[in-house]
């Protein structure tokens, strides 16, 4: 197959379309999905009808639980949230209802709903209430959590999320939405819980999440003359590919995690903690994250200052190698 450029956003859109084609139970709920304002759902209402691609009133809590009810009755809804913080607004419906049905009913049912946030994290200039990246919170609560870092993965992981029998949250970071992959093979599902070594190396493993995978690859390139950096993209934060990470650390013995979410109790903490308990390092590990409890300030320079970037990562890698 010749290489075809595939954009991340288009990959998500194709995954939705393909799954709706394949499985009549798949349906789509969200605000402005008909016109596809975010780009995620463009063309789908025309293709599948307004009673399958449903424009929702501003009632996120109700339509999130509506998805639960529909899922309990045989549907397989995908819910789009326009802003990451809508996950705060609907946390009761996701974490305390959808997530708990399977265990609490003793396995009588499951809730196959996928929640997608196209454009999570900071979109420059959208300020404090639109710029959060709470994927670690979902890993903590035990909801399957996916953060694709490339177009091909975005396709494959969204497909798997939709087919999964449990609730899955898919974060599509704003920082990677505009990127393109060169697609060289047919698009395929990517299993949840399986990470991917994006670049092999022997001196240090950089665990990078979402849009920071490209940043990590950049840093690996920058430092190539000095050190051999392995870039590990877990792709799914819960369940996490511990075996994949272990294999990488057995090669490198050093660890840096770069994670665009708040430091305390984030996914970076989990990686360091599990490694401290179960694996062996040659040097103390490091996290590169947002600060504790960060609120993103509006002004562009401040917004950027709060987010981890390639330079921060480079400094951390150097420190770990020292």
């Amino acid at each position: 197959m010749a290489g075809v450029a595939l954009s991340y956003l288009r990959a998500l859109n194709r995954a939705l379309g393909d799954e709706m084609d394949r499985d009549p139970a798949v349906c789509l709920f969200g605000e402005d999905v008909g016109l596809g304002v975010s780009g995620l759902t463009g063309g789908l209402q025309r293709r599948f009808g307004a009673d399958r691609v449903v424009d929702m009133p501003l009632s996120e809590q109700a339509f999130t639980s509506m998805a639960t009810g529909a899922a309990l009755c045989g549907q397989r809804p995908v819910v789009e949230f326009q802003i990451p913080s809508l996950l705060f607004l609907t946390l009761e419906q996701i974490a305390n209802q959808a997530h708990k049905f399977s265990l609490m009913t003793g396995g009588q049912c499951s809730v196959p709903v996928t929640y997608v946030v196209p454009g999570s994290g900071s979109r420059a200039g959208w300020a404090g209430q639109h710029s959060d990246h709470p994927y670690g919170m979902f890993a903590h609560l035990g909801i399957k959590t996916v953060v694709p870092s490339s177009a091909v993965d975005a396709y494959g992981l969204l497909v798997s999320a939709i087919r999964d029998p449990d609730p899955v949250v898919v974060f599509a970071p704003a920082g990677v939405m505009a990127t393109r992959d060169v697609q060289t093979a047919p698009l395929r599902p990517v299993p949840l819980g399986v990470g991917r070594v994006r670049r092999e190396g022997t001196d240090v493993t950089v665990v990078a999440i979402g849009h920071l995978v490209p940043a990590a690859l950049e840093v690996a390139g920058r430092l190539a003359a000095e050190a051999s950096i392995e870039v590990f993209d877990p792709r799914t934060l819960h369940p996490f590919d511990w075996a994949g990470l272990r294999a990488s650390l057995e090669r490198t013995g050093r660890l840096v995690v770069v994670d665009d979410s708040n430091r305390s109790c984030g996914i970076g903490a989990e990686v360091l903690a599990t490694v401290a308990e179960e694996m062996t390092l040659r040097a103390p590990p490091k996290r590169v994250t947002r600060p504790d409890g960060a609120v993103l300030p509006y002004a562009a320079v401040l917004d950027r200052a709060v987010q981890p970037d390639a330079d921060d990562l480079e400094a951390a890698v150097r420190a770990v190698l020292k």
């Binding site: 109700a62 009810g69 003793g106």
Partner: protein
């Protein structure tokens, strides 16, 4: 069985089931206590008599009546309260989460107001799949102030979905009188969402059934949602743990006044004495059998604590990773 007898039997079953359940709370066989439904039986009996087996309901923290009236097996229900593997939910849910998906019982719910939007989703799924299933959501007067339920009213009406909202107005949300919680009239609130709404004597199962049958018939034939206010009263405390406390929010006179209108008396008076006695005896036996079945069931094994956490069999990391 005549309709009158059948309503009486259901109410009697619910009443005696709960009385025995309270005994088991006292005896320490049911841990955590229950929210007794006693006094409100006419609502569950009347509404569920208007439903088919394939119709679905969502219930509340005070859910035993709904679950039993919708047809759940009393033995498996009691076993659930006693935390046995023979329970409806294999002992994983307990009083506040009892469910039987095979009977359309999408579950009691520990969160006030949470069921409404789930029922809307079930109704939406029914419409989408071409079924004429109706969804009923039970909730209390207190739930009328819960945002997600109000959002659900709007969605149901907007799309003319087959949902019947049943408000059991028992006058109190825990200790708070409805007048101190709800501005305007209950029916007015429903009218604010353009829901056709009627008020019915919630101590009279026949009246409830008539009103419910109307609403369900309309919903089933595409006439859209409805709202029923059932005016009722709980004879006991909010929860079994209230028994010990001075419950100063209701007067003895008020309680006595409502007890004089006990729905079992109201309905019992409509039956020949021998029919009633026969039903009483039959129920007595059924409930005794339920208790025996419940207590004979095995307690779950600690090792199985996380069974069904994920529907795909994912086994999460445990408490201590060795």
């Amino acid at each position: 069985m005549t309709r009158a007898a059948s309503l009486y039997r259901t109410m009697r079953l619910v009443r005696r089931f709960e009385e025995r359940a309270i005994d088991l709370v006292t005896a320490g066989e049911i841990v955590g206590g229950i929210h007794p439904y006693i006094g409100q039986e006419a609502v569950a009996a009347g509404v569920c008599a208007a439903l088919r087996r394939t119709d679905v309901i969502t219930s509340t923290h005070r859910g035993h009546g709904h679950v039993l009236a919708k047809g759940a097996d009393p033995g498996r229900m009691m076993a659930e309260l006693a935390g046995r593997t023979t329970g409806l939910n294999r002992g994983r849910g307990g009083s506040m989460h009892a469910a039987d998906l095979s009977l359309g019982i999408l579950g009691a719910n520990g969160i006030v107001g949470a069921g409404g939007a789930i029922a809307v989703g079930a109704a939406w799924a029914a419409r989408r799949s071409g079924s004429d299933r109706v969804a009923v959501s039970f909730f209390g007067d207190g739930a009328l102030n819960q945002g997600v339920l109000l959002e659900a009213f709007n969605l149901a009406r907007l799309w003319s979905l087959p949902v019947v909202f049943v408000c059991e107005n028992n006058g109190y949300a825990t200790t708070l009188p409805v007048d101190a919680s709800t501005a305007g009239a209950v029916l007015g609130r429903a009218a604010g969402f353009a829901l056709p709404a009627v008020r019915v004597d919630g101590m009279d199962a026949e009246a409830v059934l008539d009103a419910a049958a109307d609403a369900v018939r309309r919903a089933r034939s595409g006439g859209g949602p409805a709202f029923l206010e059932c005016v009722t009263y709980r004879f006991r405390g909010h929860h079994t743990n209230e028994a010990g406390k001075a419950a100063t929010y209701r007067t003895e006179e008020e309680i006595a006044g409502w007890r004089a209108r006990d729905p079992l008396l109201v309905q019992g008076a409509r039956l020949p004495a021998d029919v009633r006695a026969g039903l009483d005896a039959e129920v007595e036996e059924a409930v005794a059998a339920a208790v025996a079945y419940a207590l004979a069931g095995p307690v779950p094994l600690a090792a199985d604590a996380l069974d069904h956490l994920y529907a795909d069999g994912l086994v999460p990391r445990g408490k201590v990773v060795a």
